[in-house]
Amino acid sequence: MRAPASILPLRVENLAFEAEGKSLLGPLSFELPRGGITAIIGPNGAGKSLLLRLCHGLIVPASGRVNWAVEEGMLAGRKRHAMVFQRPVMLRRSARANLQHAASVARAGRRVEDALERFGLASLAERPARLLSGGEQQRLALARAWLLEPEVLFLDEPTSQLDPGATRQIEASLERLAAEGVTLLMTTHDLGQARRLARRVLFLHRGALVEDAEASAFFAAPRSEKARSFLAGDLLW
């Protein structure tokens, strides 16, 4: 019997999370097939970041399951899903050493030098990572994730703290990753970004998955009243 070639599709089944007895997410279900960029949108407190963390295995659900096609999304002993956080965590080392650390602890499938080159960081390689600009740090975080050769990349508002120039660079990197076959699941508050990048949209409100639709259909004619209000700029809470 041949080993599976992909960790996808990801099947999220009746996933729920609660803290101190209060339900914060779900139960919700959806499937993430291979390829493309899926944007998770919704107002603050909708559970977008929670959903990413649950899928990536950083927190344990109260109930429900995150089912990868292979156990824990691992192939050949390596985790094949990675995450980029809203505020990139930079170790107190140089940019190169940050990549080397990830490469050594997570058994990277790619070379550090290639990551520096690809994300335009070669000239910054010896600079302390924490002294890089916000955009450079986010590119370094992307390079670090890319090193791990992920099939799925989770991104938690990767451009929320960046200026338009840095945002454009990150979006270009994400589109290139998607074109190369990496499946991206990202949260964003920027509806323009969701329109530019996403093939599919998951709309969350108060922990519930209100809509799961093709991006073009969602933005043209949202089915739910909540989504219509959200897109119209109403202040949902």
């Binding site: 990536h56 950083l58 995450m83 965590v89 107190r92 080392r93 650390h101 602890v105 302390p128 924490r130």
Partner: protein
């Protein structure tokens, strides 16, 4: 003897590299550096482990270790004395009134400082790094080397603080070392003894060296922090 003459003679002892003087300084440094090294070997991993672990009674352990930072040296000396004295549990090792006993006593003094500072430093890093490291599949004890390395400049300052405490203390080494000439007599115990005898030049000379060490330690701590900012951000 007036102070000026004593001072002049003290400088002569320092710059003339008087053998007795050098032996006392050498023993003091050997004992203190060994104690700091031992405390680092035990305290760094223990402090980092405490930072990443959660278990019942952890807060109590932290309060105890913080309290031990203020352990009076004479009490540390008394504890080691009771442990190593002939009727004590380790009496048959024959270590009392040896440099080894002094190392044990000073390790006991420095260890809580190293553990507490390591815990504080690495716990702050752990809060910041936890999700990122978990994302890479690194959790709990496997994170300790990363945390220790990234806290290296702050930890170096902590070790220097420990060295400062150990090199300046007199009570513990006096009790467990016995202040035996040419064997367990350190800078601090010699200063105490010679001052009481009225032999000021030797006491002053050793005092100048101790002060020099204090300034050196502070300079190194300052340098470690500046280097940390420059190279680690």
């Amino acid at each position: 003897m007036d102070v000026t003459a004593a001072f002049s003679e003290a400088l002569g002892l320092i710059f003339g590299a008087d053998p007795k003087f050098v032996a006392i300084v050498g023993l003091s440094l050997r004992v203190t550096l060994t104690a700091v090294l031992l405390a680092a070997m035990i305290g760094l991993p223990l402090g980092a482990w405490l930072a990443v672990s959660r278990f019942p009674g952890r807060n109590l352990v932290i309060v105890f270790i913080n309290g031990m930072m203020g352990l009076p040296p004479v009490v540390a000396g008394l504890m080691v004395f009771l442990l190593l004295s002939r009727s004590g549990p380790l009496g048959n090792w024959g270590l009392l009134f040896t440099p080894t006993a002094m190392v044990i006593a000073q390790t006991l003094l420095v260890l809580p400082i190293v553990i507490a500072l390591t815990r504080g430093t690495t716990e702050e890093l752990w809060r910041e790094y936890r999700e990122h490291l978990a994302s890479l599949g690194v959790s709990g004890l496997r994170a300790v080397p990363t945390l220790l390395w990234d806290g290296r400049f702050a930890l170096a300052t902590g070790l220097l603080a420990g060295f400062g405490r150990a090199s300046a203390e007199v009570g513990a080494v006096l009790i467990v070392g016995g202040n035996i000439a040419n064997y367990t007599r350190t800078m601090t115990t010699t200063i105490a003894l010679e001052t009481s005898k009225g032999d000021l030049p030797l006491a002053l000379g050793l005092g100048i060296v101790l002060m020099g060490l204090t300034f050196l330690i502070n300079g190194l701590a300052f340098g470690a922090s500046r280097i940390g900012q420059r190279f680690a951000g």
